[in-house]
């Protein structure tokens, strides 16, 4: 073990973890997840998909029904929460209301029996880190939501844990503050090099902050990837729909072609060339996924493998782009983002126009 590169050794490891609360439904199904040291990993998923449950199992407040969780190579199934040394930020901050901000920050140090001089120094440093140096004597109730949030982050970090868990820590903040705090948490993560497991159901938050994102649905990780990969190369329909905007076309695989491509026939008879990502073979049903910004308006005939006539249904001016709803191949909810670049095509409602895309941008996924 000692010879191994520490980068290779996962810091946190979920091995075949299952969890059920009622003995009937599995809230977490066969979870396998490796988290590297210093990584910022985000669990992203719709409500009820089991993100909090995973975090609680890692923190020790829930026990896994089956499987193992390893922290730094050691199984921690039987380690009580207070011996795991994991910092945690809760959605409602959970700042102790009867203690001042400084006492809140000193709490984890006091229970570790650190001498008071060191405690004072660390508390002050933590307050400076979250840019609240004058607030030590206030009660949590006397702070704004954003300030409470920062104190909660500082408290989870003040005892220098190697791993910090955050469960939707920004959920209660308004949009501007949330964005500001995203950067702040990101900077703290970069400066301290601490491993962060972060839970959110806000996809833009996940995309801006994370090294890697684990997309949860129904207790299963649907895809675990870096943000750009996740957006550009979704491996199934759920991820394609959940992250970013997606156009979906249902059809049947007609033939598998060379270069990983395939030909898909739509119900109205159109056949589309697509990248075969997640299809079972000829004759199987598939859902095509296409990002709105990858559709080109009025391409030169023959320049793209997929060019079809479409009718413009609706135009919404959004400044940097024009969101255009068209009906195409029998789907009248097809969205195209036309960039507001110089000399861009001017469309009229009700007009007919050709649209097209390259085969690689159109991903054939599970139905």
């Amino acid at each position: 073990m000692a010879q191994e590169d520490p980068q290779e050794e996962p810091f946190v490891q979920f091995k075949d973890v299952q969890k059920t609360y009622d003995g009937e439904t599995l809230v977490v199904k066969n979870l396998n997840l490796d988290i590297a040291k210093g990584e910022f990993l985000t669990m992203l998923g719709p409500s009820g998909s089991g993100k909090t449950t995973c975090l609680m199992m890692l923190a020790g407040f829930e026990t896994s029904t089956r499987g193992q969780i390893l922290l730094d190579g050691r199984p921690i199934n039987n380690v009580p929460p207070h011996k795991r040394g994991i910092g945690m930020v809760f959605q409602n901050y959970a700042l102790f209301p009867h203690m001042s901000v400084a006492e809140n920050l000193a709490f984890p140090l006091k229970v570790r029996k650190i001498d008071s001089a060191t405690i004072e120094e660390k508390v002050n440093r933590a307050l400076e880190m979250v840019r609240l140096p004058e607030m030590g004597s206030r009660r949590p109730a006397q702070l704004s939501g954003g300030q409470q949030q920062r104190v909660a982050v500082a408290r989870a970090l003040v005892f220098d844990p190697d791993l910090v868990l955050m469960d939707e820590p920004l959920g209660a903040l308004d949009k501007n503050l949330r964005e500001e705090m995203q950067f702040e948490i990101k900077h703290i993560h970069e400066n301290l090099g601490v491993t962060v497991v972060y839970v959110t159901h806000d996809q833009s938050e996940a995309l801006t902050m994370s090294n890697r994102i684990a997309v949860f649905d129904d207790g299963v990780i649907q895809q675990l990837d870096e943000p750009d990969q996740l957006y550009e190369k979704p491996v199934n329909t759920f991820c394609a729909n959940f992250i970013g905007e997606n156009n979906r076309l249902d059809g049947e695989v007609k033939s598998m072609d060379e270069g990983g491509l395939c030909t898909v026939a739509l119900p109205d008879g159109t056949s589309i060339k697509a990248l075969a990502v997640n299809v079972e073979g000829v004759g199987s049903r598939t859902a095509l996924s296409l990002r709105p910004e990858r559709v080109r308006i009025a391409p030169e005939a023959g320049s793209l493998p997929n060019i079809f006539p479409a009718r413009v249904e609706e135009l919404i001016y959004l400044g940097d782009h024009i969101r255009t709803r068209i009906s195409l191949c029998g789907n009248d909810q097809f969205i195209v983002k036309v960039p507001n670049a110089q000399g861009h095509a001017t469309l009229k409602r009700g007009a007919t126009v050709d649209v097209g895309w390259v085969a690689d941008d159109c991903r054939a996924l599970d139905p």
Partner: protein, 429 residues
């Protein structure tokens, strides 16, 4: 384009018509607001009026009456007006002069006619034992006596020739008296008119007050010990269990107080369930059955049981508002379950403990029926003696003085509590 607009805007307020109209508007607006607010205040007052009237009749007036009664001394100045007038001149050393005796004879005669003399006799009997029989005897013979009245009265009863009855009348001739309060504190006047303790064998109330207070404190402590874990479970169990538990907690409220108290008699008496079990287990012999009732133990057990919900409910309502994430946060920060409880959970429930304690203590200190039924001789509370004076000995003045002292004690405790915890922190639900 920008120039002309400010000019015309500045010009407009200069015209007289433009200034008058807004002023009028403002004042009528204020008047309208005042009228609207007056109407709202009136509605609010009408809404609370019935309750206020009820409280006035059922609470404030009786309370004032009790306070008045505890110092009221109408009997002596009203029934013996002539004696009171004459005795003012007496030096209080030797026997009073003939004029005082004559006044007394006249008062007794008048009092006999009006039927009031017995009240003065009873009142004086609190001061000088035997005064009632003295007056009764004198009343019977008052028609037959002739002046000089001094000799005649002493002839009827020798006690008219002793100074103590006259001293008592002189001392208590005013409209108000402190003697009920003195009696309630086990104090009395000696022959020199000084305040001294009553003989030890007649001391009752101080010990009773002390006993009432410490037993109420003990009962409060027991309800905290027993109620805290139950409230915690109530607040933290899954809903279906906690609902069941809540019903169990509230069940006592739906049973008659009398039934609950008598149930304890069947359980605790020497032929009762507990003793039977102990005997059956062979832990005690059948002739040394434990005395668990008609003493302090009985009062304490039964009252703890009866007052428990009053501790659990305020505790529960406070605990319900503490999200589990506080304890989890404390644990994740490295605190053992015990430390997390002591440092994080407990301090947040202090207001509930305070509210429950003050509720239970105030209820306990004035409790009557349970000590009366299961307290025996040694487990009686002060309220049992208040009731006795109201119903049996009919010494309402003393009952009122005892009640007022109880009230004062509760108020003092309330102030102390307010100073320590702050009444605003008290959460009753």
């Amino acid at each position: 384009m920008a120039e002309p607009i400010p000019v015309s805007a500045n010009g407009a307020p200069g015209t007289p018509g433009a200034t008058d109209t807004p002023d009028d508007d403002v004042s009528s607006l204020k008047a309208r607001l005042r009228r609207a607010e007056r109407r709202r205040r009136l509605t609010a007052m009408l809404l609370v009026a019935p309750l206020f009237a009820f409280l006035l009749v059922s609470f404030l007036i009786p309370m004032g009456d009790m306070l008045l009664r505890s110092v009221d001394n109408w009997q002596i100045p009203n029934v013996l007006p002539n004696t009171v007038e004459r005795i003012a001149a007496w030096d209080g050393e030797a026997l009073p002069e003939e004029a005082v005796y004559a006044a007394m004879a006249a008062d007794i005669r008048a009092g006999k006619e009006s039927g009031e003399i017995g009240k003065a006799a009873t009142r004086l009997n609190y001061e000088v034992s035997g005064a009632r029989s003295l007056f009764n005897k004198t009343r019977r013979r008052i028609e037959r006596i002739e002046p000089p009245y001094k000799a005649a009265l002493i002839d009827i009863d020798r006690r008219w020739g002793q100074p103590d009855i006259w001293q008592a009348i002189k001392r208590e001739s005013g409209p108000y008296t402190a003697s009920y309060y003195l009696a309630a504190a086990d104090l009395t006047y000696n022959a020199e008119g000084e305040v001294v303790a009553v003989p030890e064998y007649r001391q009752v109330y101080v010990e009773l007050f002390i006993r009432t207070i410490w037993m109420s404190l003990a009962i409060t402590g027991l309800t905290i010990l027993l109620g805290y874990p139950v409230a915690y479970l109530l607040a933290n169990l899954p809903l279906r269990y906690s609902n069941l538990l809540m019903i169990l907690v509230l069940l006592p409220f739906w049973t008659s107080l009398l039934v609950r108290t008598t149930t304890w008699i069947t359980i605790l008496q020497s032929q009762g369930v507990i003793n039977d079990i102990l005997v059956w287990l062979g832990l005690i012999a059948t002739d040394e059955r434990l005395q668990l009732i008609h003493n302090k133990i009985g009062t304490m057990v039964a009252m703890t049981h009866i007052l428990l919900p009053f501790m659990i409910l305020p505790l529960y309502s406070v605990m319900k508002t503490i999200p589990p994430s506080y304890m989890r946060a404390a644990r994740s920060l490295g605190a053992t379950p015990l430390t997390a409880f002591v440092k994080v959970y407990l301090p947040q429930t202090v207001s509930g403990v305070g509210a429950g304690s003050i509720l239970v203590f105030i209820l306990a200190i004035g409790y009557y029926i349970t000590p009366a039924l299961v307290g025996g001789e040694t487990g009686q509370f002060i309220s049992n003696f208040i009731a006795r004076h109201m119903l049996v000995s009919l010494n309402w003045g003393l009952a009122a003085a005892l009640g007022s002292m109880l009230l004062a004690g509760v108020l003092v405790l309330y102030l102390v509590y307010n100073k320590l915890v702050g009444i605003d922190n008290m959460k009753l639900g």
